[in-house]
């Protein structure tokens, strides 16, 4: 019943309605863009958030020497490094010496594709955007089929492809470096164009925040494919196959694909660490390692948060100004609308409505309008998103964006209704009705 009267109100005062409509749409679009910016940034920060907790050091390591105390031996395991550090836990990436030119279907998949290995903690911390298949899994590291994820320039490989590895740099006296028995690797996932895996970006150190740990992978800018593996998977397969290839390997080599700690590394200190112990760790790493990037966790946190919130600091004042403008429009339009409608409300009152019911008629018309604006805006953004118009922007429509818009709309509705509550019924119906006489 009220709906009929509420809809009728909707048609009055079109100009104000249009004004509020556009202002509210702008407010909602701004809310979506601010939240999108924060969400998109935070989504990259969150995987590393754990590594930046508490006290610690975060680096891109070029080399870290000192294995078994020897100054010329590069470390191959983060757990080994931990032994030389005090109260420290280390999570590393690895550079793996593995040649993928065997099944060389396409040129780009050449021997010089970098092979990046991760500690389990890094694999589970972050999944880059996958086009097909899946990301590496820590629980698959115990099979004798090596699992790889590819970031490829061309569409050379598909998920499920088996690549036969027949060479190793450590096979002796062979120009082709042939293994006596080929080993198989299976492509389990292909990264999407635009994915950002955790590895050293070309312009590392540019930001001194979490962004320095992501490599922006764009197919048309790449010269080669990148291969991602689980370090534990390689370690496991080394063990299995090195024994079989023993007589085929260069003397002293114990594995088929040697690897070293290299690239993104995170060292987290235990809570009870003293300044002296920290100094010891810093000194050890400074003497034995070479890095291109090194920041304390506190620095990473601060810089990252500053960057995430940066957009807010810029847009919030504009948003607040827009909200105030919208509220002013709501105030003036409510005052005008209610003044226009007051004659009708008085008729309704005379015919048996309470003022409160009149407020609820007006309230319902406000709800219809605001919900209409909400749905309109969301629909427009959703359509833009579907058609790909927003692909190169951070603009997206997730739960937080919807929640933000919804809260705003509810606020506008409540504000309008409270306002109309204050305005309706302040004068007696008869005075209003006789005004026209």
């Amino acid at each position: 019943m009220k709906l009929k009267y509420a809809l009728y109100e909707q048609n009055k005062n079109k100009l104000m309605t249009v004004l509020i409509f556009f202002q509210t749409v702008i407010v909602l679009v701004m809310i979506v863009s601010i939240i999108s910016a924060i969400v998109s940034r935070y989504e990259k920060y969150r995987p590393l958030e754990n590594f930046f907790q508490g006290d610690g050091l975060n680096m891109h390591i070029t080399t870290l020497l000192g294995r078994t105390g020897q100054r010329y031996l590069p470390f191959t395991e983060s757990s080994d490094v931990e032994k030389y550090l005090k109260k420290a836990h280390m999570v590393s990436s690895y550079s793996i010496q593995m040649t993928f030119d065997i099944d060389n279907k396409k040129e780009e998949f050449g021997s010089w594709s970098p092979v990046i290995g991760y500690d389990d903690e890094l694999i589970s911390a972050y999944t880059p955007e996958i086009e097909t298949g899946r990301w590496l899994r820590t629980e698959d590291a115990d099979t004798d089929m090596i699992e790889i994820v590819l970031a490829q320039k061309e569409e050379s490989h598909k998920v499920g492809d088996i690549i036969t590895l027949t060479t190793s740099d450590v096979v002796k006296e062979s120009r082709d470096c042939k293994l006596s028995k080929p080993i198989q690797a299976k492509v389990v996932g292909i990264l999407a164009d635009g994915a950002s895996p955790i590895m050293r970006p070309i312009h590392y150190g540019e930001y001194s925040d979490f962004r320095d740990y992501y490599y922006p992978f764009h197919r048309d800018e790449e010269e080669r494919a990148i291969v991602f593996v689980s370090k534990r998977d390689i370690e496991h397969n080394n063990q299995i196959h090195a024994a079989a290839e023993q007589k085929n390997l260069i003397k002293g080599e114990t594995c088929i694909w040697p690897y070293i700690i290299s690239g993104p590394c995170f060292i987290q200190y235990d809570t009870g660490i003293t300044q002296k112990e920290k100094d010891h760790n810093s000194k050890y790493l400074a003497v034995n390692g070479r890095y291109v990037f090194r920041h304390t966790s506190a620095e990473m946190r601060e810089n990252s948060m500053e960057y995430i919130m940066n957009q807010m600091n810029m847009l919030i004042p504009i948003l607040i100004a827009m909200i105030i403008l919208t509220l002013l429009s709501i105030i003036s339009s409510t005052v005008i609308m209610i003044r226009q409608n007051m004659h009708n409300y008085s008729i309704y009152y005379m015919l048996g409505m309470t003022w409160r019911k009149c407020v609820s008629v007006h309230g319902l018309s406000v709800v219809i309008m605001q919900m209409g604006i909400f749905l309109f805006t969301i629909l427009c953004i959703a359509i833009c998103e579907k058609t790909g118009a927003l692909d190169r922007t951070v603009f997206s429509l997730g739960g937080w964006q919807l929640l933000g818009c919804f809260v705003m709309i509810v606020f506008f509705i409540v504000f309008s209704i409270v306002l109309s509550f204050l305005l309706i019924g302040k004068r007696s119906a008869k005075d209003i009705l006789r005004e026209i006489e």
Binding site: M1, K4, Y5, Y8, N11, N344, S346, I347, Y348, Y349, M350, L351, G352, M353, T354, W355, R356, K357, S428, A429, K430, L433, R434, I436, E437
Partner: protein, 225 residues
């Protein structure tokens, strides 16, 4: 059925421009009566009628409809009384101009309190029947702002009787109409009265007053005969 006892009404009470419009009005109107309230302009006729219609309050005295003391019941109950017991016709019709005649007549039916409200189809049928009673059925779907004054007043009367109220109040219902139309409208009121409804008409047209069974004269906020 309607009983006013020593009603005093002061406008702008407590302010410097306070004005006592009714100085202790007492009045009883029995069921089925057709009463005219006459008096010069500014005498307090409308003030009295608005109090009777429960769209305005009073400062002291007592007003009863069917034994119920108005002013001592809740806002909601008052609304229900306006809706069910009283049909009000105003000089300027007080119609929702953009609504059709039918929609206007349906308003009191739409606002009926829970339990008493009828189904939409039934409400429409009743509204049409009411329009028929005032010979306006052919204009049911016309927006009222296209109608003439006499037609509008007929719609207003149809709306006033939609909920079959026992008391019909009219504030100068013919004030804006010509003599011919006035006669027609008065016929409608007389018909309604003959169906047993109590009618109180405020007017300063003596020709109108003459057609009522009782005439009450009010002057300067007092009833004088």
């Amino acid at each position: 059925m309607v009983k006013l006892d020593n009603i005093i009404k002061t406008y702008n009470k407590g302010k410097s421009n306070a004005f006592e419009a009714l100085h202790g009005v007492s009045l009883t109107v029995g069921s089925g009566e057709m009463v005219a309230i006459v008096g010069t302009s500014g005498a307090g006729k409308s003030t009295l009628l608005h109090i009777l219609a429960c769209i305005d309050g009073y400062d002291s005295g007592e007003y009863c409809i069917d034994g119920m003391v108005i002013g001592k019941v809740s806002e909601k109950k008052m609304a229900a009384i306006r809706n069910e017991k009283i049909g009000m016709v105003m000089q300027d019709f007080a119609l929702v101009e953009e609504f059709t005649a039918l929609d206007n007549v349906m308003i009191p039916l739409d606002f009926a309190s829970r339990g008493k409200k009828k189904r939409k189809k039934e409400r429409k049928e009743i509204a049409l029947k009411m329009l028929e009673m005032v010979q306006m059925q052919d204009f049911a779907d016309k927006p009222v702002n296209n109608l003439s004054g006499g037609q509008k007043q007929r719609v207003a009367i149809a709306r006033a009787i939609a909920n079959e109220p026992s008391l019909i109040l009219a504030d100068e219902p013919t004030g804006a109409l010509d003599t011919e139309t006035t006669r027609e409208i008065m016929k409608v009121f007389i018909d309604l009265n003959q169906q047993g409804r109590t009618i109180i008409i405020v007017t300063h047209d003596l020709a109108v007053a003459e057609q009522c069974s009782r005439v009450i004269r009010i002057e300067d906020g007092r009833i004088i005969e």
